[in-house]
Symmetry: C2
Subunit: 99 residues, 2 copies
């Protein structure tokens, strides 16, 4: 079990580099309270936040996206028995589709 959520992930990093919700939220151009909710998992993160977040938190965009995807997949598909196989297949198809 256990899987770091996207919210915890960015909160940890934000505290690490000692930025306030306010600063980060302003950079994302959203309300402080929205970011607070995202960090605590009370609201989902919009994909729009990902790039700016990686910038201001000085994180690799790939890592940010990966964490985001993993979290969302867990939430969206958590109940499916064949999730693993489905993901493997999806990955295959998407890789082959790439240009």
């Amino acid at each position: 079990m256990s899987n770091i959520t996207f919210g915890v992930y960015i909160r940890k990093r934000r505290e690490e580099i000692e930025l306030t919700l306010n600063k980060v939220a302003a950079y994302l151009d959203i309300d402080t309270s929205t970011l607070s909710k995202v960090e605590r998992g009370e609201r989902p993160a919009s994909p729009d936040y990902l790039k700016p977040l990686s910038e201001i938190l000085e994180l690799d965009l790939k890592e940010v996206q990966t964490t985001y995807i993993t979290d969302k997949i867990n939430k969206d598909f958590g109940g499916l028995e064949h999730l693993s196989e489905g993901l493997k297949e999806a990955e295959k198809q998407i890789k082959s589709k790439k240009k």
Copy 2:
């Protein structure tokens, strides 16, 4: 390019075994027009449809879920640059989380 959508997938199968929208929709306990829309991609398929669909269309549930997942991932994450890597990572984490 090209990736079969969930809707096309079930429509093909439905026509193959010659069932009407009506019959299948009744089995899923939804409106005919809803199923029509799902098949044409105008509405998303609810996860609730998956098991009943696999039953009445005589399809392997795993295949149904896989197609559903792939389609939805494409729609939900289509724009992310690092989707492939993200999926690989998600798969890893989910596999290790199992039980």
